[in-house]
């Protein structure tokens, strides 16, 4: 059975994939459907949804088109979520794997280093990093990655510690496989499920962290993001619910889609589940 066929057996995963593809389509189509900058003021402010042609989701406090912001924002939010999670995994997985597999002093050193990052509150560190590096998409992605890798490292380390003494790992050691091969071929594939679940949640957290940063005015001033929209609409939430509602729903759907896709990937990669069905 092909990989996709196994993936598609999980209905939820399929739904998640469709939502995700729609959001990606939104991001790609944004410049075509709304060629004007989403920052431009185009109508009078506080226009409710569906009250005027061309403004299906209304306008915001400054008279900017909410629909346009939402579509342009999709690009930034997705980019930040996926890239920063990838970077965090690239730091966290190897560190955790090495610490968990070798143990002893190596483990001690790496874990103290990890704890150094964990003792500083995530958000405070992210603010400092962005402020130092100047707000831009790159600095935001980096800052989010730097504050979110420690849990990955800890999770991977715990998984490695419990798996490294399994009999099949010992068997691999016995036939003379190198440590690198054992880590990559024997243990890592068996830690995929929790990593995938954690990663899909991390994308969500990253989108939210970016929202919080934009809310504080530390977002990239050149790009519209969902976080910025919610942040800007906070003060008027009682007068204009739609300003925070639509970007909020967009974040919710993205996170949900990612979780569903993550679960489906996990099932499809698990040989046991995929054949039993």
């Amino acid at each position: 059975m092909s990989f996709f066929a196994r993936f598609a057996q999980n209905r939820g995963a399929l739904v998640g994939l469709i939502i995700l593809l729609l959001i990606i389509a939104m991001a790609i189509l944004a410049p075509l459907l709304f060629p004007e900058s989403p920052w431009r003021m185009v109508q009078r402010p506080f226009l409710p949804p569906l009250s005027q042609d061309g403004f299906p989701l209304g306008t915001d406090t400054m008279g900017r088109n909410v629909a346009s912001g939402l579509m342009h924002g999709a690009w930034v939010s997705l980019l930040i979520g996926l890239v920063s999670t990838s970077v965090a995994l690239l730091i966290g997985v190897p560190l955790g794997a090495i610490a968990g597999y070798y143990g002893g002093i190596i483990d001690d050193v790496l874990m103290r280093f990890t704890e150094f990052f964990q003792t500083i509150p995530n958000f405070a560190l992210a603010i400092v990093l962005v402020a130092i590096m100047q707000p831009s998409i790159t600095s935001i992605v980096l800052a989010i990655a730097i504050v979110s890798w420690p849990p990955v490292a800890r999770l991977v380390r715990a998984e490695f510690m419990s798996l490294r003494n399994r009999e099949y790992v010992e068997a691999a050691r016995l036939v003379g496989q190198s440590n690198t091969t054992i880590i990559l071929r024997q243990i890592l594939p068996n830690t995929l499920s929790p990593i995938i679940v954690l990663a899909s949640l991390m994308v969500a957290t990253a989108i939210l962290l970016e929202s919080a940063l934009s809310f504080l005015g530390l977002g990239d001033p050149n790009v519209m993001s969902w976080g910025y929209m919610i942040g800007a609409a906070r003060t008027v939430i009682r007068q204009a619910w739609w300003l925070s509602f639509f970007p909020g729903v967009a974040i919710l759907l993205t996170v949900l889609a990612l979780n569903l896709v993550g679960e489906g990937l996990d099932d499809a990669l698990n040989p046991k589940l995929s054949r039993e069905r």
């Binding site: 399994r166 009999e167 099949y168 790992v169 010992e170 068997a171 691999a172 050691r173 016995l174 036939v175 003379g176 496989q177 190198s178 091969t181 071929r185 024997q186 594939p189 068996n190 990669l269 698990n270 040989p271 046991k272 054949r275």
Partner: protein, 546 residues
């Protein structure tokens, strides 16, 4: 055709035409089909079968402890005139413990680790609202004395982890007996225990049964245990009863082909055959091997030391099978793990054909690893669930420089050799049964053409009939490929079956070693004699059939 019995007045439990349905998608529709048997007053009824035979299902139905989705669909279970299948959960709960006691297989997990033993026994009284707290403690102490726990005044305040496996099982028995039940159900109560402990627990159960006139329903997979303890036997297979009758007649004169096969499959506990011991140069020489495990001490916590191996010396000739026997904690597994260098010995020499393996490290060790391979105990844990079987076998040769295609081809041939067929290459481990997985493990060990194979409890996790097949395969491969085997086991019957020489270990030391014949016929040390005496069913007629 179902086998039935006539019901008489002294019947305690009577199961009639019982059908238990498994949920959809299971490997068969009925876990138990048309099962009828009785347990009479004051007898020990043994229900025997291999894993998956449904032997525990009927007992679970009696206790009202059937797993979710599994239901009795037909028949009745009569206990003191009432049908247990018709009871509500609340009525069942009142019956459990009070009228029917139960002991489980795993004494580790059946006790609450955070509760003192005395309190756990007292809880049984509390659950049925008997006695006041002070009387409960007194009763608990009496029970602990009755089940023969050493230092009962101390044991009553102990936590489960402070007791040995055998002592924990005694506590379980004390709890099961607390309310003086009429019927005791024992589900594989000795499977997790050492032979000598098993013998003691069996004696205790028989003793208590006679003293109290209880009836016991004893579920086991081991015909040796049956021979030790049973009055009557019920042999089950695939959810059906294949034979039912007196222990003596079933054991001496089994009617059904399956029962005959089961009894014949028990590794012979008669005297092992005489084997020629060749006087060739030793392949493996172990000299004065020492290994101490230290737990890291902490703040205000002294470090602990366990001497796993003390001055262990032995030799193994080319083409020879040496058995290492001993109880848990004897250091036999540590010895095996040192030989394959999964553990680093503290001192001593491990000479394989003159090369000292004990001092090798890093890449030098990795280059020598292919010479000694291991077959692991647990057929489920020893294969990577995400690696295809062919790859699992081929990864050794690949790591040692064989091109991938050639290694996979060789893996197919090996799978053919161990009787699985080359098509198994493309499948995942979970598609195989325990015995088949153990064959895969053997193929993997053979892939590197090792000079020595260490088999650590390689057949312990398997059913007897499968066990016999795997032992046969090992024997055959050994002859064909002129392998040398270091066979580690706690089961003397298995050792007698396959080993040329036997080494007996206790507390990290070698107690006695000699040819298998010598150890079985004329054991010199008291400990060896104890071990032999403890083999279940040794004096029973089982020996004659093998």
């Amino acid at each position: 055709m179902p086998i039935t019995e006539n019901q008489s007045a002294d019947t305690v439990l009577s199961i009639r035409d019982l059908n238990i349905a498994l949920p959809k998608g299971a490997d068969r529709a009925l876990a138990v089909e048309d099962v009828s048997y009785e347990v009479k007053r004051g007898e020990i009824m043994c229900v025997v079968g291999e894993s998956g035979s449904g032997k525990s299902m009927a007992a679970n139905a009696v206790m009202g402890l059937l797993p979710k989705g599994v239901n009795a669909t037909h028949g009745e279970i009569l206990f003191e005139g009432q049908d247990l299948l018709a009871l509500t959960e609340k009525q069942h709960r009142a019956l459990r413990g009070l009228k029917i006691g139960m002991i489980f297989q795993e004494p580790m997990t059946a006790l609450n680790p955070l509760m003192r033993v005395g309190a756990q026994i007292a809880e049984v009284f509390e659950a049925h609202g008997q006695f006041n707290p002070k009387e409960r403690q007194a009763r608990a102490l009496e029970l602990l004395i009755e089940v023969g726990i050493p230092q009962p005044e101390k044991a009553i305040r102990a936590y489960p982890f402070e007791l040995s496996g055998g002592q924990r099982q005694r506590v379980m028995i004390a709890m099961a007996l607390a309310l003086e039940p009429i019927l005791l159900i024992a589900d594989e109560p000795t499977t997790a225990l050492d032979v000598t402990t098993q013998a003691q627990i069996l004696e205790l159960i028989r003793d208590l049964q006679q003293r109290r006139g209880m009836s016991v329903m004893f579920i086991t997979h081991d015909f040796g245990v049956v021979a030790e303890i049973a009055n009557r036997v019920c042999v089950m297979r695939h959810g059906k009863i294949v034979e039912l009758g007196d222990a003596k007649s079933v054991l001496e004169n089994p009617q059904d082909a399956y029962t005959q096969a089961l009894i014949a499959a028990i590794p012979s506990n008669a005297v092992p055959p005489h084997r020629e011991t060749s006087q060739v140069a030793p392949l493996l020489e172990i000299k004065q091997l020492n290994k101490v495990f230290r737990s890291r001490g902490g703040f205000l916590k002294p470090s602990r030391e366990v001497r796993a191996l003390e001055d262990v010396s032995l030799t193994l000739a080319r083409g020879e099978t040496v058995g290492i026997v001993g109880e848990s904690g004897s250091g036999k597994s540590t010895l095996g793990r040192c030989v394959v260098r999964l553990e680093h010995p503290d001192s001593g020499e491990l000479l394989l054909d003159g090369v000292n393996l004990s001092q090798l490290k890093g890449d030098a060790l990795r280059r020598e690893r292919h010479r000694v391979q291991m077959i692991f105990q647990d057929p489920y844990a020893s294969l990577n669930p995400r690696t295809k079987v062919g790859m699992a076998i081929a990864q050794g040769p690949i790591a040692n420089g064989t091109p991938k295609a050639a290694a996979l081809k060789q893996a197919g041939e090996l799978l053919d050799m161990v009787g699985l067929g080359a098509s198994a290459v493309e499948r995942f481990p979970h598609e195989f049964s325990g015995g088949q997985r153990q064959r895969i493990g053997i193929a993997r060990a053979l892939a590197l053409n090792p000079e020595l194979i260490v088999a650590d409890e390689a057949v312990s996790a398997l059913d007897v009939s499968i066990q016999a097949q795997v032992l046969e395969l090992l024997e055959e491969l050994k002859q064909r490929l002129s392998l040398s085997l270091l066979f580690i086991t706690h089961d003397l019957r298995v050792a007698a079956h396959i080993c040329d020489r036997i080494v007996v270990m206790q507390h990290g030391r070698i107690v006695e070693q000699g040819s298998a014949e010598q150890i079985f016929l004329a054991p010199k040390e008291a400990y060896t004699q104890d071990l032999l005496k403890a083999i279940p069913g040794r004096e029973a007629p089982v020996a004659a059939t093998a």
